[in-house]
């Protein structure tokens, strides 16, 4: 080989799972910024934790729009977060087998926490005891 070619070779690689996960982190991030920041500024800064009680949650969730909003938060933030934890864990766990176990453990954890959140979102506030 004496001559070098200036021509750029373009190769189409079929995306694997990690490629899709890599893109997902970036796309979900763009969506999460308005969702999470608005949630944070409204609940932590404007309303404040001292104004939180069961009535507040019940009134908020009486509006279906807020339930959809919270469902989006739950779905996107938790999935983004768990994939992030998986990426950090990949730095510390090197074995193929250990990584598979870690990924499945995180997936089951994600499923369980999301299910708990979804149950509350659907069930709503249970005020079946005398308040105050």
């Amino acid at each position: 080989m004496t001559a070098t070619s200036e021509q750029i070779r373009r190769v189409k690689v079929r995306p694997n799972y990690d490629h899709i996960a890599w893109k997902w982190m970036r796309y979900s991030a763009v969506l999460l910024i308005p969702l999470v920041w608005f949630h944070l500024i409204l609940q932590d800064v404007i309303v404040g934790v001292h104004a939180m009680d069961l009535d507040y949650v019940a009134q908020r969730w009486a509006n279906i729009g807020w339930r959809v909003y919270d469902a989006l938060l739950l779905g996107f933030a938790m999935a983004h977060g768990m994939n992030g934890v998986r990426q950090v864990a990949n730095d510390f766990i090197k074995g193929e087998r250990a990584r598979t176990i870690m990924s499945w453990a995180l997936f089951i954890f994600w499923l369980a926490i999301t299910a708990i959140g979804a149950a509350a979102l659907i069930g709503g506030v249970r005020q079946d005891f005398p308040l105050n």
Binding site: A29, V36, L40, G48, V57, G81, V85, I113, A120, R126
Partner: protein, 139 residues
Amino acid sequence: MSTLKTTLTGYTGYRGREGHYAFLLHRITGLGTVLFLVIHIIDIALVYLSPKGFLDVIALYQTTLFGIGEIALVFCVFFHGINGLRIAYFDMLKPANWSIETERKSTRITLIATLILWLPATFFMARNILIHNYGLFGG
């Protein structure tokens, strides 16, 4: 065990200045946020699972210690968001920006933007704590 040591040595030993700090802060703020996210999903789920427990958790969140944690959480979310936007923008649209010079400049801008968002938020949250927990400002 050696993997843990190798990775941690790599995390701390690498001297890449701004880009390195941005990487570390992105991880720390991300892990901090996801830790609270899991706790937060469970505490909100208590309104359905155990309303009495929900009130106990809220009382705990209203303490000064958790208030300071809340202020830290807001920093984590703002920094992780802005830095994440920077990463997404470079990766998807401007891969040529992954150079040492742009990295240093953009990290500084990220930090300044984070402070611009975080400091006013901190003011209001700290004021809330002082009003409700210490009776200041006419609380």
